[in-house]
């Protein structure tokens, strides 16, 4: 818990990857996390059933923004089949930090929005 704010997470928070709306996208979804007031929208473009490009916009805490940054980078090139199989547990291990029960909502927000995209 003490090393939640490791440099890698903070860098993703300060300069998130794939931040911004896509000009052309096939699908998008937006969710609010009423617990924190986080607000996240993800845009996805597919090619041959795989993620060709992805972007997100939103406001949130360091954990939710870093998760979105890391997740959107990870899923590029992945097929829809691979994404369906990607679980909450996979998301938490991708994030690589130990999050408490209350912060799991933040860590999993991006994944929930992404899953909602298809």
């Amino acid at each position: 818990m003490d090393n939640l704010y490791i440099e890698e997470i903070l860098e993703h928070y300060r300069e998130p990857l794939n931040f911004g709306k896509l000009d052309k996208f096939d699908t998008s979804s937006r969710q609010l996390n009423p617990f924190c007031g986080d607000d996240m929208e993800i845009f996805v473009r597919f090619k041959n059933n795989a993620v060709e490009d992805i972007g997100f916009v939103g406001k949130g805490c360091a954990i939710s923004i870093a998760s979105a940054s890391i997740l959107t980078d990870y899923v590029k090139g992945k097929t829809k089949g691979e994404l369906t199989k990607f679980s909450e547990k996979d998301m938490l291990s991708l994030l690589g930090i130990e999050v408490s029960e209350t912060r799991k909502k933040c860590a999993l927000l991006a994944l929930a929005v992404l899953k909602d995209c298809f």
């Binding site: 939640l4 704010y5 924190c36 007031g37 986080d38 406001k59 805490c61 360091a62």
Partner: protein, 407 residues
């Protein structure tokens, strides 16, 4: 003062406990914990039914605490004190009572600064009854803006059934001039019922229901050092007498026939089932502790601490502090944000240092929308806090800025 509270004797994860979340719930002094223990160890029995000594002692104790509560808020009659679970239950109970005799064209008034407990029950009642729902705004200092309300909505105030309003805001710390507000509203509409949400005021300042002139007043024991699960609804006797009970069952009846039932007198009419006896005992002990400390001294102490804290916080760059600047009209609550950092990250960094503050919307989403922010961080003080706690808070905020490279 901390020495009276055993929780501060222990280290939590190897760190000293810096508890700055008393607006959520308060810590308990040893005397309250002892009173609960003593009840369970020496006179645990159900009340009213038993004819043996410990049942009589428990029953007598409840009556005594009811008197103490009445005295504490200067109610005329102990029968006007109804024991409930918490503020939320007390307000919902009043909403239920009102729902039976609200007439068509009669509206409901509340404000943007309310805790959800004093907002959602009224909004839902209005929706159910298709009644006019007027939400009064706040001014730029965080006080209820009654004057604009009266100017713009006099007719709606004239035709309202009930006005439900917070005495002290759990986010802004605003101490509303509630006596004056009630007077003005009743001048416009003498028949309006006024409910005061006193969850944040009864633990921190002198509240006198007769002086305020309210019809109902609600508060929670757990915010004033009693146990969780005990709260109080004060209601004027003639109003409570003329309303229908909410829950039916044991303890609240006079006579039950196959065809019908007559109900018990106040306050039992509204207290169906076995009460939280240990909770009531703890409330008695908490009030005794509050009386021996002196509620005026607590108010002065809270005030000294927020002055000390605000003076230091205002010097921190990139911090936004909400609520009244007139510190004599502000209770021991400070909500704030740091530019570029989500309040949850503030609370988490502080939490890792052993400093307990709260982050989120504090059950006041309409107020946060009104302030134009999704969430805030909140530090709140009570009689066991001191300047050293504030120094820790400042150190914590600086650490947040450090971690997020904002220096």
């Amino acid at each position: 003062m901390k020495k009276d509270f055993p929780i501060f004797k222990n280290k939590i994860n190897g760190k000293k406990l810096i508890y700055l979340d008393s607006a959520a719930t308060s810590q308990k002094p040893q005397v309250v914990i002892d009173a609960i223990l003593e009840f369970y160890k020496t006179y645990n029995a159900n009340v009213k039914r038993g004819l043996y000594p410990i049942a009589e002692k428990a029953t007598e104790k409840i009556g005594k605490v009811r008197q103490e509560v009445a005295k504490f808020i200067n109610a005329i009659n102990p029968e006007e004190i109804i024991f409930v679970r918490n503020t939320t239950e007390a307000i919902n109970l009043v909403a239920y009572l009102v729902s039976h005799n609200i007439k068509r064209e009669e509206g409901i008034i509340t404000s943007t600064m309310e805790h959800h407990s004093n907002f959602v029950p009224w909004q839902q009642l209005a929706l159910k009854k298709n009644a006019d729902f007027l939400v009064l705004d706040i001014d730029e200092n965080g006080f209820l803006d009654l004057d604009s309300g009266i100017k713009n909505y006099e007719l709606r105030i004239k035709s309202a059934k009930i006005f439900a309003v917070a005495h002290v805001s759990n986010v802004l710390g605003t101490i509303n001039p509630i006596k004056d507000i009630i007077k003005k509203v009743k001048e416009i509409n003498p028949n309006i019922l006024v409910l005061v949400d006193a969850a944040q005021s009864v633990p921190h300042l002198k509240v006198d229901v007769q002086d305020l002139g309210c019809d109902f007043l609600a508060f929670s024991g757990h915010k004033m050092m009693a146990g969780t699960g005990i709260g109080v609804l004060y209601g004027k006797k003639h109003l409570l007498n003329n309303m229908q009970p909410f829950m039916f069952g044991g303890e609240m009846i006079r006579e039950v026939n196959i065809e019908n039932t007559t109900f018990a007198d106040l306050p039992h009419k509204y207290e169906a089932g076995t009460p939280d006896i240990a909770g009531i005992v703890s409330l008695g002990a908490a009030i005794e502790y509050l009386n021996s400390t002196g509620i005026e001294n607590i108010q002065k102490h809270d005030n000294r601490l927020i002055k000390y804290a605000l003076q230091k916080m205002e010097k921190i760059e990139g911090i936004n502090i909400y609520g009244p600047r007139d510190l004599d009209r502000r209770s021991g609550v400070i909500s704030f944000n740091i530019n570029g950092v989500h309040p949850h990250d503030i609370a988490q960094v502080l939490g890792n240092m052993g400093i307990c503050i709260r982050a989120g919307h504090h059950c006041a989403m309409p107020l946060h929308k009104r302030l134009g922010i999704p969430a805030s961080a909140r530090a709140s003080f009570y009689l066991y806090n001191d300047e050293e706690d504030v120094d820790y808070l400042i150190k914590g905020i600086k650490e947040v800025k450090n971690i997020f490279s904002l220096i």
